[in-house]
């Protein structure tokens, strides 16, 4: 029986779209992956801040 696709687990606090998920959508990394990852996670954390501060602060 074919495996059912598993839904993505809930991202960890501080994250909306985890890098591990995003990298699967990108072409193969031919340069520094850490740089791409760092930038992705920086702005992903801001997206997290955005939604949670709407709930907590605004």
């Amino acid at each position: 029986m074919p495996e059912q696709p598993q839904p993505n687990p809930a991202p960890k606090p501080g994250t909306v779209v985890p890098w591990e998920q995003k990298i699967k959508e990108l072409p193969p990394m031919t340069g520094r992956e850490d740089l791409v990852k760092q930038q992705w996670e920086t702005y992903d954390a801001w997206a997290y801040t955005y939604i949670w501060h709407l709930v907590v602060s605004f």
């Binding site: 606090p13 909306v16 954390a45 801040t49």
Partner: protein, 399 residues
């Protein structure tokens, strides 16, 4: 001049942080959280300080120069009204937009009918992925602009994220500069850093509404507990990410309706407290104090708060009897506040002076007290009463 201001700042910082840690400084620190009160001093309207945060920063600096305060918040008008406008948030009334420009912003309670921001059968979705639920289900309901995933994207939807993100970033980015100007131009300390709320309050305030949550507490309490547990790590994350990296200033928790009689003692004991306490303990483990800004009355829970490690919180007293608070908590935690806002609004300067003297000479007798109003000071407070509170603080607050 600049050197004098820095010396004054350092003196005030030492005074404030000594009291935060239950020590006895040279004087009782004075730290009012002034919101729309800044309009009474600056001449700006509530609309102006709500919609233009630079005016709010400026008005706060004007207050700092006018009064001899040790610490305050650069802008305590905590709603920057442009954010709800560009995001289209339904739960705020903003001064100058349908409301008088001279009243503070209004918070509109979430509806509990079919228009509820979160339906009672959606707890599982919230618990499974809180962040995803907020983006995909909650935000489209609370916003006039945002559409649900799967619906056709609209220009207004796209603009709400673009403008909302830029507006929020612009506001948050302005704080370090405002803190620095308050320090250099007025010698005043920024009083807090970081924000925390109890998971149960989040459910009531922004998701289910208070009435909806009360129904859920009766009909599905285990599910409510599970939701609070799911929210817990996110509350911790937001608190930690916004905390003072030097661990000098406390993280503030704004405590709303998690106490008796808003919830039963049983629900406090089984849901509210077990999902808040671990956050406070973990923050303390990492060196962060939490300012328990206990809005309203929390007298039913004072003994419970004693479970926390000595010094881990500062208990801010709003409408509780501050002398009783001091009797129950004074040996473990610093205390702030307690000067009734009603007195500051409707009383006479002599009453304010006498009451402030009594609080200082009782609660502040051995240190560990920070003089402040019971609640955030709005534009109903009289300038002469705030002046009387400040003057009494200086007159009677010398150790």
């Amino acid at each position: 001049m600049a050197q004098d201001m820095e010396a004054l700042y350092q003196q005030r910082l030492k005074r404030y942080t000594t009291a935060l840690r239950k020590g006895k400084p040279d004087k009782v620190p004075i730290r009012p959280f002034v919101a729309e009160f800044i309009c009474n001093v600056s001449g700006y309207t509530c609309q102006e300080v709500t919609q233009d945060f630079e005016l709010a920063f400026e008005a706060t600096r004007k207050c700092c120069l006018e009064f001899d305060w040790d610490a305050t918040v650069p802008n305590m008008v905590y709603l920057y009204g442009t954010v709800p406008q560009v995001v289209g948030l339904r739960y705020y009334g903003v001064p100058g937009v349908g409301l008088s420009p001279n009243v503070g912003f209004n918070y509109v309670e979430p509806p509990e009918d079919s228009n509820s921001f979160m339906q009672p059968d959606e707890y599982d979705a919230l618990i499974a992925d809180p962040t995803g639920y907020l983006f995909s289900t909650w935000l489209p309901r609370v916003s006039t602009e945002v559409v649900r995933p799967g619906q056709p994207a609209t220009l207004r939807n796209n603009l709400s994220f673009l403008k909302g993100g830029m507006t929020m970033m612009n506001y948050f980015s302005a704080f370090p500069r405002a803190i620095e100007r308050m320090r250099k131009e007025t010698g005043t300390v920024s009083a807090i850093a970081g924000i925390l709320k109890a998971p149960l309050d989040i459910l009531a305030d922004k998701l289910r509404g208070y009435i909806g949550l009360c129904m859920d507490l009766m009909e599905q309490p285990d599910t409510v507990l599970a939701a609070c547990e799911a929210l817990q790590p996110h509350m911790f994350q937001i608190a930690l990410a916004s905390a003072d990296p030097t661990k000098t200033l406390p993280i503030s928790i704004w405590m709303h309706r998690g106490c008796v009689p808003f919830v039963s003692q049983e629900h406090f004991d089984k849901i509210m407290w077990p999902t808040l306490k671990p956050i406070v303990l973990e923050l303390w483990k990492r060196g962060h104090q939490v300012l328990f800004y206990a809005e309203g009355k929390w007298g039913a829970h004072l003994k419970t708060f004693r479970e926390l490690p000595a010094g881990s919180i500062i208990f801010h007293c709003d409408r509780d009897d501050i002398f009783e608070v001091h009797r129950v908590l004074g040996d473990k935690f610093a205390i702030s506040g307690g000067i009734p806002n009603v007195m500051l609004a409707y009383g006479k300067p002599e009453e304010v002076r006498d009451y402030t003297k009594k609080v200082i000479q009782t609660v502040g007798r051995d240190g560990g007290y920070i003089l402040d109003a019971g609640a955030i000071v709005q534009n109903d407070a009289k300038v002469e009463n705030i002046r009387a509170m400040t003057a009494a603080g200086r007159e009677f607050g010398v150790y």
